[in-house]
């Protein structure tokens, strides 16, 4: 894999095929945990961690267990099982070995585990027939894109909370409109990289 491909995958997942704003995956944490920048950053950390880990584990399960047995049609349920088990294990391990990291990420880990972005990255990896390294990078890049827009959006919402929004648009409504405008803006990246 050349350095070129490396950057194309990264660029593609962060901007062009952004998980939230272009593929519309993981919208619940995007709307739910974007009220404060600090919690958005915590969520971003947890998401990056879980999505990268999920890509790795699901690739291994798919490649070494499901594909040789001809059980590809069990992908969805097997991936859910793998992701949930691995995240739960890491959460326990983290709580014991690194309480500080656990305090920062701990509450967000179970929130993101069963998220569609996490399952989506695993399924897209198999659909696009990525190899091990590409899968990992795709998961990491997707999470990076998710983090970028989540933090941008939460910063905007903090400003919105203090601004004088007309009454019918207050709260979630203006959040939805902002998300839509951001999505339109990200559509502008379409065609920049093809992956």
């Amino acid at each position: 894999m050349s350095i070129n491909e490396f950057f194309i995958i990264l660029l593609s997942t962060v901007f062009v095929n952004n998980f939230v704003l272009v593929q519309f995956l993981g919208l619940c944490p995007f709307m739910g945990v974007s009220n404060k920048v600090e919690s958005a950053i915590g969520m971003s950390g947890a998401t990056t961690f879980v999505m990268t880990l999920a890509s790795i584990c699901t690739y291994l399960v798919n490649h070494w267990i499901l594909a040789p047995l001809g059980l590809e049609y069990l992908r969805t349920i097997a991936f859910i099982l793998v992701i949930a088990a691995v995240v739960q294990f890491v959460k326990m391990f983290m709580e014991k070995t690194s309480p500080l990291l656990y305090r920062v990420l701990g509450v967000f880990l179970p929130l993101i585990t069963v998220n569609c972005a996490v399952l989506g990255v695993a399924l897209l990896n198999t659909q696009k027939a990525h190899n091990f390294f590409e899968s990992t990078l795709y998961g990491f890049g997707g999470a990076l894109g998710f983090s970028t827009v989540l933090i941008l959006f939460s910063a905007m919402r903090e400003r919105l909370a203090a601004s004088d929004v007309p009454l019918p648009f207050k709260g979630a409504a203006i959040g939805m409109i902002t998300a839509g405008l951001m999505s339109l803006a990200f559509m502008g990246f379409a065609g920049l990289a093809n992956q």
Partner: protein, 203 residues
């Protein structure tokens, strides 16, 4: 046996999923024992009773540290936002006498208050912003500050640090949306106890 399983697709799927589940279950079960964290359950119980305003009026940086301090032997009457109800609940949990709220930690106020900055007098020192546990004060250095009334919990931690004393705690007037039926004052005796407990009422 193996041949029989691999000939029936449904059996292959079942065996594969069940063995995966058992494997992960075993790993998680092992981890639950191996990485068990020793925690004092009483701290969590106390923390659960505290109001979680994280206001710091008890002198600790938040509710959980105060819960830890109670376990280590601190008094249970240092929480003004929780009021007498919290103290009673704590006393009940810890099986001790319920003291009244420590006056040093400010009197209990049943009226909901909200901070208000007299903006003409504000010099923009940002000291109140740093003091606010709720992030409810908006402003920047040398710019006028203001309080987001919806976010303010009325803990009056911002009043003390203000160098020009331009912060008032004003009571919130009840509106149609916020008005609540007042709770009845607790009655501590029943009819037959009248003459025993309070002779002046009986008389």
């Amino acid at each position: 046996m193996l041949e029989f399983i691999s000939q029936h697709t449904i059996l292959t799927a079942l065996v594969a999923l069940v063995s995966l589940s058992v494997l992960f279950g075993a790993i998680l079960g092992f981890a639950a024992v191996r990485y068990k964290v020793e925690r004092n359950p009483i701290v969590d119980q106390i923390d659960h009773i505290l109001p979680q305003t994280q206001c710091g009026q008890c002198g600790y940086p938040g509710c959980h540290p105060y819960a830890q301090a109670i376990v280590d032997g601190d008094a249970i009457n240092k929480c003004p936002p929780g009021g007498q109800n919290t103290i009673n609940a704590l006393a009940d949990l810890l099986d001790v006498e319920a003291p009244s709220l420590n006056i040093e930690h400010r009197e209990e106020s049943t009226i909901k208050k909200v901070a208000f900055i007299r903006e003409a007098e504000c010099i923009g020192c940002t000291k109140c912003i740093l003091a606010c546990p709720m992030d409810a004060i908006l402003g920047a250095a040398k710019q006028m500050h203001t309080v987001i009334a919806d976010e303010c919990t009325g803990c009056d931690l911002c009043v003390e640090p203000c160098p020009v004393d331009c912060i008032d705690m004003i009571p919130v007037e009840p509106t149609i949306q916020s008005w609540k039926w007042e709770l009845p004052t607790p009655i501590t005796f029943i009819a037959s106890d009248k003459d025993v407990l309070s002779p002046e009422i009986a008389a």
